[in-house]
């Protein structure tokens, strides 16, 4: 773990996350309810409540480069249980989008085994491509 260097530019990145998600990360008061209900928290390098705190202190890169937004299930448990009404799932979407909008592919049809493509229901493929490709 390196030292976080916070500069005004870092906070511009936070503003971008707020703008894409329509949320305000500074609303979070770290109660941890999002993490306690998150079915994917075990898989995450940075759990949802930590993600919120990192964003508040301007460490956007740290969460964008973690696996967290990519193992999020967009199940909305965090969003509906947040006592401050923050749509945390929308923030996870914003964290995916800052990479996807730079033409990043988290998944690629050519890398999905053919037998999977044959048996996966269309909604699984459409949903995955919508969430994880530009």
């Amino acid at each position: 773990m390196g030292v976080l260097k916070l500069t005004p530019e870092k906070f511009k990145e936070v503003d971008l996350i707020n703008r894409i998600s329509g949320q305000n990360v500074y609303d979070c008061y770290q109660c941890g309810r999002c993490t306690s209900g998150c079915p994917s928290a075990d898989e995450m390098e940075i759990v949802p409540s930590q993600t919120m705190r990192f964003l508040q202190i301007g460490a956007v890169d740290k969460v964008v480069e973690s696996n967290t937004p990519w193992v999020c299930l967009a199940c909305l448990i965090c969003s509906v249980r947040c006592p401050k009404g923050i749509d945390i799932a929308a923030i996870m979407e914003a964290l995916r989008l800052v990479k996807l909008r730079r033409n990043y592919d988290f998944i690629h049809p050519n890398r999905i085994p053919e037998e999977d493509l044959e048996e996966l229901p269309p909604i699984a493929l459409v949903a995955a491509f919508r969430k994880m490709t530009p």
Binding site: I112, A128, K131
Partner: protein, 294 residues
């Protein structure tokens, strides 16, 4: 007299979840409803776009709602939980944000009409509960589902966020009430609103296999024989990913996963060949035969 109800099928109900659509048609027919496929429907996008600065992901669902309006209808019925969620959320969004609705209508400038937020999106479970009613359903039962214990699994998309929920967000009971009307014993599954792993089934089978292991294991602990769902993606994950769950968790015990409409059709006396059990990974027939239901 038969009531024709506009029906938005979505991609999966015409492919891997054909058995869901077929049994839903049978069930609706019992109460004189006919599911009328929406004219020129297109994919809804499967997941609702959560970004606030881009309306493009909302155009596909709104275009389907415009089709409903175009044929002079006031409501549209869905079966798939993902379609339900995407259409209903997009509808809620454009009703709340008239400026965004204008932008979306401008994008759809080639259409003959504009959308105005007037269509209602309903799920089959709402039709069964609110319009047909469980007492009528109870009277239509020919073969009560005595002898099986059912756990209802709701997943995410019928319940969240609250503004589109078909039932109590944390403690839904509509599917349990329905199964009781059919004569089945029900258990209150503690993980019934927890995600099955959703679209991670494409790139991270391991996550979905672990979710399936947990959900099926909890259902076993509560004494359930089968799990029911209304979502083709939950169905795929909970059924087909049992193979992966077994590889990762040697103690895993399989459980048949059914669409609620399959059990309804069974209770209404339809024969085995109409119930669409062939595509299931975990075949429910041995259990249903053992309990004298087939």
């Amino acid at each position: 007299m038969t009531v024709k109800i506009p029906y938005y099928p979505g991609c999966t109900l015409k492919s891997t979840a054909k058995n869901f659509e077929d049994t839903a048609r049978l069930v609706a027919g019992i109460f004189d409803y006919e599911l009328d496929d929406l004219y020129r429907w297109n994919c809804c996008g499967a997941v609702y776009g959560l970004s606030e600065d881009n309306v493009m992901h909302k155009v596909a669902p709104v275009r389907n709602l415009l089709r409903v309006k175009e044929v002079g209808e006031k409501r549209v019925l869905t079966l798939c939980s993902m379609c339900f969620n995407t259409l209903k959320r997009a509808n809620y969004y454009v009703r709340k944000n008239k400026d965004k609705l204008e932008v979306i209508n401008a994008i759809m400038y080639l259409e003959n009409t504009t959308y105005d937020g007037s269509v209602e999106v309903i799920h089959l479970l709402e039709l069964l509960r609110d319009e047909i009613g469980f007492s009528r359903i109870k009277k239509a039962v020919k073969k009560p589902l005595e002898g099986i214990t059912v756990a209802a699994y709701y997943g995410c998309l019928l319940l969240r966020p609250g503004e589109i929920a078909i039932d109590n967000m944390e403690q839904p009971t509509v599917m349990e009430d329905l199964m009781e009307a059919l004569g089945a014993k029900v258990v209150d599954l503690n993980v019934k609103t927890e995600c099955c792993g959703a679209y991670q089934t494409v790139a991270r089978k391991d996550i979905v296999a672990d979710r399936t292991n947990l959900i099926v294991e909890e259902a076993h602990k509560m004494g359930a024989d089968v799990l029911i769902t209304s979502c083709p993606l939950c169905h795929f994950n909970l059924d087909r990913r049992q193979k992966d769950a077994k590889e990762r968790h040697p103690d895993f015990k399989p459980m048949p996963i059914l669409y609620f409409t399959q059990l309804m059709a069974l209770a209404f006396g339809f024969s085995e060949d109409k119930l669409g059990f062939d595509p299931h990974y975990v075949d429910p027939r041995p259990l249903l035969k053992e309990r004298g239901l087939l």
